[in-house]
């Protein structure tokens, strides 16, 4: 395929993904907006006002970057895992498999589709947060790079999960039992300085801690970890997961007999 044809194929996959999640917006765009608004009201306003400062900022300001990141992570992942698994389940993935689209373009298209939803919801949550607190951005490039890379990373994770899944239960196991606990324990609601030394150390092996803190550094200028180490770790994970996903596609894991 020519570069122009590849670009059209990539756009087709991305637009198809965008069309999908906007068509079912009450399932995709609305729930995170409602959930995050409840977080802002309950944790930020009601409870947060009694907690006081954290990391030099009031509690609402402290949790906003983490909540935005949580929305981006879960939705980037959810979009790819549910869309790709549905295609496998309905066998409409065969439309792509019989076409000349190379595997890397298929992967890039799905990741971009996941990012489109993750970042759209990130933007919605950011706009909602402005109703509760003021946000001043400390380092815009850091904010943009961190949120884009994190969204790409979890889109890749969703893709691998969908490739491995054989039934619908399989696509909810990782989000429920891995992503949610790691996100809650990844410093969204607290600074790890509050934890005993052992749990501080244990938190350092949680990759989501680095992403939340990298993003928080971009917005507030404070972080529990070096933000550049955060970026480096995200890039390493992206390369690893992309290699795994491409290998699975080449072998036709779960999609070719």
């Amino acid at each position: 395929m020519t570069i122009q044809a590849l670009w059209i194929a990539f756009q087709t996959i991305v637009l198809r993904e965008i069309r999908r999640f906007t068509r079912i917006w009450p399932q995709t765009l609305l729930p995170p907006a409602v959930t995050m608004t409840l977080y802002f009201i309950i944790f930020g306003n009601l409870i947060g006002s009694r907690i006081g400062d954290m990391g030099g900022y009031d509690y609402m300001q402290f949790i906003v970057p983490g909540l935005i990141m949580m929305a981006v992570i879960t939705n980037s992942y959810a979009n790819v895992v549910s869309s790709f698994f549905s295609m496998k389940f309905q066998r409409s993935i065969e439309e792509l498999l019989v076409s000349p689209v190379p595997n890397w373009t298929i992967l890039a298209g799905y990741v971009a589709g996941g990012m489109a939803r993750g970042l759209s919801i990130g933007l919605i949550v950011t706009l909602l947060s402005l109703a509760f607190t003021q946000l001043s951005i400390h380092n815009l490039p850091m904010v943009v790079i961190t949120v884009f890379l994190t969204s790409a990373l979890f889109s890749l994770g969703g893709f691998i999960n969908a490739m491995l899944a054989t039934k619908f239960d399989d696509i909810s196991i990782v989000p429920t039992f891995v992503l949610t606990p790691l996100t809650y324990l990844g410093g969204v609601f607290y600074s790890i300085d509050l934890l005993p030394a052992f749990w501080q150390g244990a938190s350092m092996i949680n990759p989501i801690l680095y992403m939340v803190n990298g993003f928080r550094y971009g917005i507030l200028g404070v972080s529990d970890v070096n933000p550049f180490i955060s970026l480096g770790m995200i890039v390493v994970f992206i390369v690893l997961l992309a290699a795994v996903a491409l290998r699975m596609l080449a072998r036709g894991k779960g999609i070719r007999h």
Binding site: M1, T2, Q4, A5, L6, I8, A9, Q11, T12, I13, R16, R19, R23, S86, M87, Q90, R91, S92, E94, E95, L96, L97, V98, S99, P100, V101, P102, G252, R256, H257
Partner: protein, 316 residues
């Protein structure tokens, strides 16, 4: 001579040791209307699945218009349109979106894709349904949608796996007309079908596959010449309890109580009627049983099964 499809020594084995394809060879000329026939589980869909990249092969070569799927998969796929046996489109998408999206996967710009989609949706009687979610279509419409989707990038080789399964007779005939028109316009067509009447009506060349091996690969005309027995169904004035002994002819009663008589090549129908007259059997009406290709197909598959039991396969 240009071949639309060349298959050499194609093998497919599964992890449990089952050999679905045992080194088959097949050539389909450009412009041909070709039927791949065989009983369930013979290897038809596996063969077509490998050609269309839905199944990984275990060995052998496949070339589509000279493009080897091992070294130039993209070139092979660009020349190929596939209509699978099972519905495999997104049930929630609109008809027009399914077809234009497929065009996009082939690198066709949206404007051009819409023109091509309209052309085929109109030809297949689906243009009025373009904004309907695909799950709302009838079974026949869904089959036609898959044909429109396979054609939107104007492939030179169209593969159809059981295209008229579950389709009523009227629609089947209209789909035949459409496929004949595609064939006249130069598209090479390969189909698998359980309706052997379909293969007899449409195809010029035929291969029969059984137990992962090609047992015949020849022209339809040549194949039909091998058929030396034709069965006639006779409705008689009086119902019979058992088939009469007809001198020189094999006869039986079918489920409906009608008399079936086998007439071999060289035997005269006149002598059959003389014999019937001699026995006082009056015939009210007469027709041929099923289609000729079906009879031949059944015999070949049975012969192959017998040969396999005896340890020697039948090879064309």
């Amino acid at each position: 001579m240009t071949f639309a499809l060349e298959i050499e020594g194609l093998e497919k084995s599964y992890g449990d040791g089952f050999r679905a394809l045992k080194g088959i060879d097949l050539k389909v000329r450009e412009g041909d209307f070709f039927a791949l026939l065989g009983p369930n589980g013979a290897g038809k869909s596996t063969t077509l699945g490998i050609v269309s990249s839905l199944v990984n092969k275990s060995g052998g070569k496949v070339r589509v218009f000279g493009h080897d799927i091992d070294t130039d998969l993209s070139g092979a796929k660009l020349n190929l349109g596939v209509v699978p046996q099972e519905f495999n489109f997104n049930q929630f998408e609109k008809v027009i979106d399914i077809v234009t999206t497929q065009a996009g996967y082939y690198g066709i710009p949206l404007k051009q894709a819409r023109v091509s989609a309209e052309k085929y949706l109109r030809k297949l009687g689906l243009w009025d349904k373009r904004d309907t979610p695909s799950r709302m279509l009838s079974g026949g419409m869904k089959r036609r949608l898959m044909i429109a989707r396979a054609l939107v990038h104007e492939p030179r080789l169209l593969i159809l796996d059981e295209p008229t399964a579950g389709v009523d007779i009227e629609l089947r005939r209209s789909m035949w007309q459409f496929l004949e028109e595609m064939s006249r316009q130069g598209t090479t067509i390969i189909l698998t079908t359980h309706y052997l009447e379909e293969a007899e009506a449409l195809c010029r060349n035929i291969a029969i596959i059984d137990h992962g091996e090609i047992i015949r690969h020849t022209s339809k005309r040549e194949l039909l010449q091998q058929l030396n027995v034709e069965t006639f169904v006779l409705d008689t004035e009086q119902l019979m309890d058992s088939a009469p002994e007809l001198d020189g002819f094999r006869s039986s009663l079918n489920e409906d109580g009608a008399l079936e008589v086998d007439v071999e090549k060289g035997q005269s129908l006149n002598s059959l009627f003389v014999e019937l007259e001699r026995q006082g059997i009056k015939v009210v009406s007469m027709r041929t049983k099923a289609n000729r290709l079906e009879e031949l197909f059944v015999r070949m598959v049975e012969d192959n099964a017998r040969a396999a039991e005896n340890g020697s396969g039948v090879k064309a």
